[in-house]
Subunit: 373 residues, 2 copies
């Protein structure tokens, strides 16, 4: 690229912005309110989906890969094809420890995680890739069993695993196995989900009880000495999204509250929309066993990962229809309105506690539940 | 699925085959000549791209994920959209050790590996996802530098990194970092590459010197005490493919000879096409330094990975034009015709040595060069 050098004495003309400059400017506006990276070394919080993750993504990945598709910084990208057809494209790596837990395995998570990111963009998930990093010495029988879980998850999600890759690393270098999936789905022409379409007065919904997955995996490690009958909610959400969009076609925005939980995705929404999210603590559906375990662990279920739930924003006039649509689906029986969008305070999440008070809900800080997905 | 139970005495009718049965039958035909999995535990050979990899893929992945897109078992899948547009979709994980080597880094490999798989399907690579598995304690500065390599590789390849994921695992559990990429590209309507279109008499070409990447990485470990001026050939092949298809529009089939080398991809072609590949040892372009290092290592350059080369099959009347087209591109200066397709012996690769003899060239066995990509 050749630069125009102004002649001496000539006033500097304002050059038209290049596409890259425009994208960088949008990213800069977006970053304004985001946490800054202050660490010199990676630690577990950078993978926890909260503040440190956001700081790392901004500082390292977003600036390097600046482009229009990446700029919205959701869990996936919209690809527009020459025909005008739009695809959702997303990726996820699964490093959960242990690889089996009540309610599922790393195989289920690997498929559901990617399929759900694609579904949250309003797309119908269709195709999945699977790349395996296997540790030398990993039992083939165990691999077969994990792959059978992936097959089951793909069948339930209505997707095909169409391509893959296999690498083997030294003993001790992969905790058994890691699985990385990517997913592609077609976005119907009439679906346009975007945080920037969210308006004051809109309602915030969650499709069911929160915190089940994170707590189930933590307890499965057996390190805490707590026994409770809690299962991961890992599930494919494509069908639930279709039901919601049919019942509430004005749906503005969807997100699956995985790492960082409902609190973190609501913060991301508040910042992207530059609006306030006011949550109602009493309305949050939480299983008593999850609540109890969270009290012992000293964490708030609002920050705990889910793997089979969605948070939706719908216009007020469609809120009832949305709840009915979600509750009519097997995965949405405990769906509830949990909050409202307001003008003020912009970019923030506030929760009304049951006792007439309220407090600010920030993004997840640190990593209270490492390696849960 | 309900099964039709024949009445006693009634002759069993032949039921029409379900789609899944038809796919399984195709896979079964394909598997006939492939090596069988005999191991109970994963070892490095399962990730080396040769016989053990093929056996693992057949026994564990292919049967589980049986579907039309997966059935051809190339390095990627063709997705046909509702509009009729065709996409190529592929994934690759990079676990190379060390993460930097002469000529590139894990960042270059992660982008080129996926982009090249997409290009080998005749598609124009456009979008890439990147999922990072980072080890606790990995320096952020090092991550920035690897991401800068990915940015450079993406720019050279003409693709955008549009979505990603970041996970952190415990110290010691990822040798620094692993990177998993997936790629999507659009296949032009007039491009139809398929091993089944290969015919006796077709010529086999390679786009340049073989074995550079694998040898460069092995020497970079410094364990062998060999010093040689050998650089990895890691490069994006989309432009080279476009040049080839423009010069030789009848091109039948393409593949990048990564793990397992030219010998292994020729074996895969021979089996998929049910034809013989006759290679000419004297015609193989190999750098003297690579030849020398391979002699000391006791390996044949035919089995060593390349990361910036392609093997092409073209009809005989286009062979000359194909060589001219490849040599006219900066990445194809050493392109050469290296063999011919024949009827007999079907499914096999034979090499004519320089001394009038010939020998059978099998797929790679074992893992002479672990962790080179």
């Amino acid at each position: 690229m050749s630069e125009a050098v102004p002649e001496p004495g000539e006033p500097e003309k304002e050059l038209p912005k290049s596409e890259e400059e425009a994208v960088l400017e949008r990213i800069e506006r977006f970053r304004r309110n985001r946490p800054r990276l202050r660490d010199d070394f990676i630690n577990s919080a950078h993978g926890a989906g909260g503040k440190a993750s956001a700081a790392l993504i901004d500082a390292v990945f977003v600036k390097a890969f600046a482009n229009e598709a990446l700029a919205p910084l959701t869990d996936g990208a919209v690809l527009t094809l020459p025909s005008g057809e739009r695809l959702a494209f997303s990726t996820d790596s699964s490093v959960v420890n242990p690889i089996r837990f009540p309610g599922g395995s790393i195989g289920h998570l690997a498929v559901h995680g990617t399929v759900n990111d694609v579904a949250m963009m309003g797309a119908v998930p269709a195709w999945v890739s699977a790349a395996f990093v296997l540790e030398d010495g990993f039992p083939v029988a165990e691999l077969r069993s994990i792959v059978a879980d992936m097959k089951e998850a793909a069948a339930n999600a209505g997707v095909q695993v169409v391509t893959g890759d296999t690498k083997v690393v030294n003993k001790g270098s992969a905790d058994g196995l890691y699985i990385c999936t990517a997913g592609v789905g077609v976005i119907p022409a009439d679906v346009h989900l975007d945080a920037r379409s969210v308006r004051p007065g809109d309602r915030v919904l969650v499709s069911g009880t929160i915190g089940d997955h994170g707590v189930a995996v933590m307890l499965a490690r057996g390190e805490l000495g707590i026994e409770a009958d809690i299962e991961s909610d890992t599930a494919p959400l494509g069908g639930l999204v279709s039901a919601l969009l049919a019942g509430a076609p004005g749906t503005r925005w969807l997100r699956d509250p995985t790492r960082g939980g409902v609190a973190t995705v609501c913060n991301e929404l508040a910042r992207d929309a530059d609006l306030a999210i006011i949550l109602d603590e009493v309305a949050l559906p939480v299983r008593p066993a999850v609540n109890g375990a969270c009290e012992i662990l000293g964490i708030d279920p609002l920050y705990v990962a889910n793997e089979g739930k969605l948070v939706a924003v719908v216009p007020p006039e469609e809120a009832e229809a949305a709840v009915v649509a979600l509750r009519g689906h097997p995965l949405g029986g405990d769906a509830a309105v949990i909050g409202e969008v307001r003008d003020d305070p912009p970019g923030m999440v506030v929760i009304n506690t049951g006792f007439g008070g309220n407090r600010v809900v920030d993004m997840l800080a640190g990593d209270p539940l490492p390696r849960i997905c």
